[in-house]
Amino acid sequence: MIDVSVSFKRYSFLGLEFLTWLWWATEEDSEQVTRAAGEPAVLYVGNRIVLEKTQREDVERVTIKGDAAQMDEGILALKKGAQVRDVNLIMEIGDSKWAFNLNSETMAFSGLKTPPTAPVRVVDEMEGAIIEKAAFIEKPLTIMHNIFKHFITLRISPEWKDEVLKVRKWIMEFKA
């Protein structure tokens, strides 16, 4: 096992590539995402995306907030060589909806909103509330892990070259 602090820096590109690939996959190959999720989940980019471009020692970041039309700005940043650092994702399974931000560096979740749970009125209801909430939180964590596992299997396979070409085509042929 490689030292954690060493691998955190040396392989930071993996997180950036994962989120960039995921954006492409949700837009252009949603069937692949659903298959990888292992559940009939629909995943799409929400209202915020942060892109990052590293050039020598300098890091340029662009934050885009708003609806899908404004996300075009993000693809223009990809065209200039940026990759996705943070993304707000929406996940739907049937009538249930989750929203969360995923960070490429730490793969941590923030702003995680789950489907509504019943309020806790008395202490006796606490245990049930914890179990219900934990199950709701576990759902996007498990699904994102499944999708990441699919990505990493692809990333180390010979098929990755073709996948890169597809993402590149999407970026380069995009017209605002």
Binding site: L14, M107, A108, E127, I130, H145, F148
Partner: protein, 204 residues
């Protein structure tokens, strides 16, 4: 931003090692051994320890109150006294002026200034109440996974250190590489390929 709040932040860890059998007793002992204690000494700035999610201000981690369904659920509590920098500066200035007036000198040595600052901070620390902050933790023993309901770097460091001191096993943060290396079931040859990856170019 805790487990039950409407908007949560989650950092994921893999437990690196095996908890001694009987597992629940080892966990209970670890929690009890490092249950948070109220700040004792007047000059103490910070206290860090475990508490219960249900009663974070009156911690009771005895019995099996921390077992909730298939999970182990408890909280990390950090009580911290923070001195307002402007108050420290003002008190130091007043004290230094008083010292110079008393001794008839026009300046104080660096050592004297340092002593005055330390004294002022000590006096202020005894008056300022500690502010408690609670960060929930959910531990799935079967999967060896721990979720910390925070993404702050300083909180992660406190958890990693206290967890090792309490249970004798370390926590490995799951970011892209560690998640791939440790949780994706990759074979030896896959791991070799993973280790030799270099960045992809999505644009030419």
């Amino acid at each position: 931003m805790g487990l039950l709040s409407s908007s949560a932040a989650v950092t994921r860890y893999l437990v690196n090692g095996k908890i001694e059998d009987p597992v629940l007793e080892t966990i209970r002992n670890g929690l009890e051994k490092r249950t948070i204690l109220e700040i004792g000494g007047e000059s103490q700035e910070k206290a860090v320890g475990w508490t219960s999610l249900e009663r974070p201000y009156l911690p009771d981690l005895s019995g099996s109150s921390f077992v909730v369904g298939p999970h182990i659920v408890f909280s990390l509590r950090i009580d911290k006294k923070t001195l307002p920098s402007k108050v420290v500066k003002m008190q130091c200035t007043v004290e230094m002026e008083r010292r110079m007036a008393e001794t008839g000198r026009e300046f104080l040595s660096r050592e004297e200034k340092k002593q005055i600052r330390e004294h002022v901070e000590l006096v202020l620390l005894s008056r300022v109440p500690a502010v408690p902050n609670i960060y929930d933790i959910l531990w799935n023993v079967e999967d060896n996974m721990v979720w910390l309901f925070s993404t702050q770097g300083a909180i992660k460091e406190e958890l990693e250190s206290l967890f090792f001191e309490s249970f004798g096993v370390s926590l490995i943060p799951l970011f892209a590489f560690t998640e791939a290396e440790l949780t994706c079931g990759l074979s030896e040859s896959d791991l070799d390929r993973l280790a030799t990856l270099s960045p992809a170019l999505f644009v030419e």
